[in-house]
Structures are given as C-alpha cells and as structure tokens.
C-alpha cells in the first residue's frame, strides 16, 4: 500500500497567541513549532497499516525550509520519505493545489490529513484534495480498517457515528482514536537523518482570500465568586443575571 500523509507545522499547543505588524501577522518570536497533533495521529495510522514491509508512507509538507525539523520528526516516527513543496502556504486552497499536483501521478492508494490544522483550523485540505483529484474524501474519521480494495471507516457525526465503506484511492481527515500515538525511538531518530527529503518548487496558484487582521478575544471581566455554602445563588445568577438558563 502506498500512502501519502499531509503534515503541517504549527505552533505548539501551549503557545500564547500574539500578533505583530499592526495585528496582521502571527508573532512567531519565541514560538516553538511542532507537527500538528492530528497529522501525527494520521501518520501513526499510516505506519501501522504499512508495518512489516507492507507498503510505503510518504509525508508531504507545503512550507519553507524552517519546517524541516518537523518533517524530520515525521521521518523519525517512521515515514519512508518526505517531500517539501517550497512555499509559504497562503491558504488551504494553495496547499491543496500543491499537494494535488504532487499526488496526481503518484498513484497513492490512500491520502491522509489531520482533521484540521490547529493554527488556521480550516478543516479544508482533505475535502479540497478529494475534489481536485476527483476521488472520494471523508472527514472526520476516528477509525480506519483496510478490507481488500476498500476501507471501512467511522465518521463522526453530531451525536453519533457513520460506518462507511470506501474504495481506494481516497482522502481521509483523521482525529484521535484512529491510531495509537507513535513516539520516535533512537533508531528512528538516527535513520531520519538519512531518509530522502525531496524539495520541490511550488506551482503558481492565484490566491482567493487572505487574512488581513487578527484579534484576540476580549478579556472577560473578573470572575464573580459565589460562596461554596450557597450554590443556589449561582443558579439564581445564571437565571436572572446571565439569563442563560
């Protein structure tokens, strides 16, 4: 089986988000970047599926050279090789176009993405890729089992789940539950240094939208504390002051 996993390089989950340039740009100063946690789970499933020489896992990232530590981490976790499309990604459409351009003649059986990137959170790349490649896409999935020339997946829906049968090739956006997290071991880390990482130039894509301003949520006022001996007071405040119950 030949699998492609799309990986993004995102601010660590503990990052305090701030902006510069008149609030038009994310302030990267002092920020640690990591492999998007959902992409890590997608990669873990891809590695499980190709264990024992049963296929290859290529990781692809659209990003500048600064993302290479994250790509090496993916190789250390167990990817076979990597592709970096050399560009600063402007939006999900740009990313999907680049990845589709790479994938169109590679005959991947399966393309995995995370459910969303934790920075821009569009949850868009998987379905865009499916459409650009004219193959099925399914997101957000919590389970993926191979069953001959098709897979059985569990898709999350409001208050439940759907069990879907889907033929290869297809694209899936994955969430927690789809695999056990894989932690790179020493051998993985050593071999990652010599695994192939091919850098490819980007294709021209015209941008459809761009972020012009960021803002952080208005701080809440100070908390109104209710005495632990008198929780009835809280219910009364929620009813008559906040008017939410």
């Amino acid at each position: 089986m030949k699998i492609l996993v799309c990986i993004s390089n995102v601010p660590d989950t503990t990052t305090k988000i701030t902006f510069t340039n008149d609030n038009s740009t994310f302030n990267e100063a002092g920020v640690q970047f990591v492999l998007n946690p959902y992409d890590e789970i997608a990669l873990s499933r891809a590695i499980e599926l190709t264990e024992n020489g049963n296929g290859t896992v290529t990781v692809i990232n659209v990003g500048e050279a600064s993302t290479e530590p994250t790509i090496r981490k993916a190789l250390a976790i167990g990817a076979t090789d990597a592709v970096r499309i050399n560009a600063s990604p402007s939006d999900a459409y740009f990313v999907a176009k680049q990845i589709a351009n790479h994938a169109k003649d590679q005959a991947y059986d399966l393309i995995l993405t995370g459910r969303e990137s934790i920075d821009y959170n569009g949850a868009k790349v998987a379905a865009m890729l499916g459409e650009l490649l004219d193959i099925p896409s399914v997101s957000i999935i919590k389970k993926l089992d191979v069953d001959g020339d098709k897979a059985t997946v569990e898709r999350e829906i409001e208050g439940g789940k759907e069990i879907i049968s889907i033929p290869f090739p297809f694209v899936a956006g994955t969430a927690e539950g789809v695999a056990e997290w894989k932690i790179p071991n020493m051998r993985g880390i050593m071999s990652a240094r010599t695994k192939p990482l091919n850098v490819v130039e980007a294709i021209e894509v015209s941008s459809l939208s761009k972020v012009i301003k960021f803002e952080t949520p208005a701080p809440r006022g100070t908390v109104k504390l209710v005495d632990a001996g008198d929780p009835e007071k809280l219910i009364e405040l929620l009813h008559s002051e906040a008017k939410v119950i």
Binding site: T13, T14, K16, I17, P37, A92, A96, I118, Y120, N121, G122, A123, K124, V125, A126, A127, M128, E131, P136, S137, V138, I140, K142, R155, E156, I157, E158, G159, G160, K161, E162, I163, I164, S165, P167, F170, E176, L208, S209, V211, I212, K213, F214, E215, T216, P217, V223, K224, V226, A228, P231, E232, L234, I235, L237, L238, H239, A242, V244, I245
Partner: protein, 324 residues
Amino acid sequence: MSVLVYVESAEGKFKKSIFEAVSYAKAIATQLNTSLTAISIGDVASSELENLGKYGATKVLNVNNDKLKSFINQAYASVIAEAAKKEGAEVVVLSNSFSGKGLAPRIGVKLDAAVISGAIELPNTDGGFTIKRTAFSSKAFATVEVSAQNKVISLTPNAYKVVEDGGSSSVEDFASENKESDFKTIIKEIVRATDKVSLPDAELVVSAGRGLKGPENWGMIEELADLLGAATACSKPVSDADWRPHSEHVGQTGIAISPNLYIAIGISGAIQHLAGVSSSKVIVVINKDPEAPFFKVADYGIVGDAFEVVPKLIEAVKSLKANS
C-alpha cells in the same frame, strides 16, 4: 445573482443550527440586495420545507431521490454546486457541522470559490468582502479578505441568532445530474444516540475533568446536564482514561464548542482545554483550588468541592424549574 443556503437535515428534520444558517444567509442576501434560495437534499416533508420561509428563504429547491437519501459529500457537493450555478448564486452558506466540513471545500473547488469555514459574523460587503472567523483553536479571530467572486461560507453553530420574520417559501423539485463516480462511498450504518443533546449543537454544556476522580462519579454530572437540557463534555485525560467517550472530549485536540453556558467542574483550565471552549458566552468554574487557571477566564465561579457543590446545584435547578 442570489444567495444559496444548504439546509442539512437528519431523519427528515432540521436542527436549530440550520435555522441559524438560513437567518444568516438571509441577512447576507439583504446586504447584497438579492433573495435567498435554500436547497434541501433527502427526504424532508414539504411542510418542513415551506417553514424555511419563516427564516427568510423565498424559494426551496427540493432534491429527493433514492440515490441521494444518505449523505455522500461528493454527490451532495455536485448537487449544491449545480444549483448554485443555475441560481447564479455567488454566495453559498452552510452550517459548519461535521457534514458541512466535508462538503464546503468540495463545493468551493467546483465553483472556484473562496471557502471561509467557521464564520462567526456577517461579512462586511461595503466595497469589498471581508469576514471574521475563528483561528488558532479559538485563541484568536481572523478577518479574511476575499478576492474571489464566489464564496462558500460555513457558519459556526450558535454564533448567529435565529431570526423569524419571513413568510412561507415556495418549494420546487430540483433534478440534479450526478456522475456515477460521485457514489463510490457507501454508508453501511448510522449510529445515533437520540436520547442525548449533541455536544456541537448544544446551547448548554456541563463538563467535568479529572477532579471527579473516576467514571463512577459521573452520575451527578449527567443528572445536572439532564435537568438543564445540557450536553455533557469532558477534558482530554478523562476520555484518554476511557472514563467518558472520545466524542465528549473538548479542547485543542478534541472539538471546539461555543455554547451559551459552559460549566466546568473539576477541570484545571489548561491552555489546550481553554482553546476549545473559550468562545462560550458564559463560563462557570467549580474547582476546589482557588488558584486553578480556569478562574481567570470564568464569569462565575465557586471555590469548593464538586462532590458537595454539584448535588446542591442539582437541588437548586430542581426548585428553579418547579417555580417557573
């Protein structure tokens, strides 16, 4: 030109988030001096479809054929894009539900449209087209400037109020031309817990964390939630330990929610947890540690032991309900 809204249904019914999307789409149509058309796919009674007029849809396109009974994003995207073209719609609106997430990007590609997912406000259409959405797992908002002619916008549930001031809509059958290749995926089974409020749609949420000590203590959490008509949620370590199902896990690696009320019980308020819940309108924190970081972002709080406080809250809600 017109605005098109996709009205997702489950078992023949629309949820509140769909009425929000119709109301929102109507407001955009008004801004653009045009009318609103809705498109429904699946088996929905015509009375339900006519009722969409109340929220501002003047016309409803009804697609009801056997092949399109269950949701296949590829096929549904083809139908919606086809309708958008026939209606000359430059703006397509849908709800940012699980299905909406699989649909909006495909429609966007078909229409060469910009896809704005998770919008939280009406766009500004004076001169250009800018729109606000959440980013960085609700730690920030981003204002996006759209240069594309066509736009696909998915609306965050509970971000826009339902407006009921319209009349009845006219319902028309819409015959779509799907390709065979749209139907490769097959839905084998749908499992729905019908007795519970679904978390992403919930207006009220009662959530609990590791402070509850073990799964056997969730009885009082469920009781409080049931009394309030709230959904239940939990922190990540709780679902990791299998005390609660993963579908309840909120936060950066779980789901992001924005209910009117979020009650956090025995949750410390780690930054990854806050990422998924900080856009809740009112936050209540119950924690025995006065230094718990969650109090810094709360509107109301009780410093106390959950095992003493929650049973009293349950009694207080019961008497509130008895008196109203």
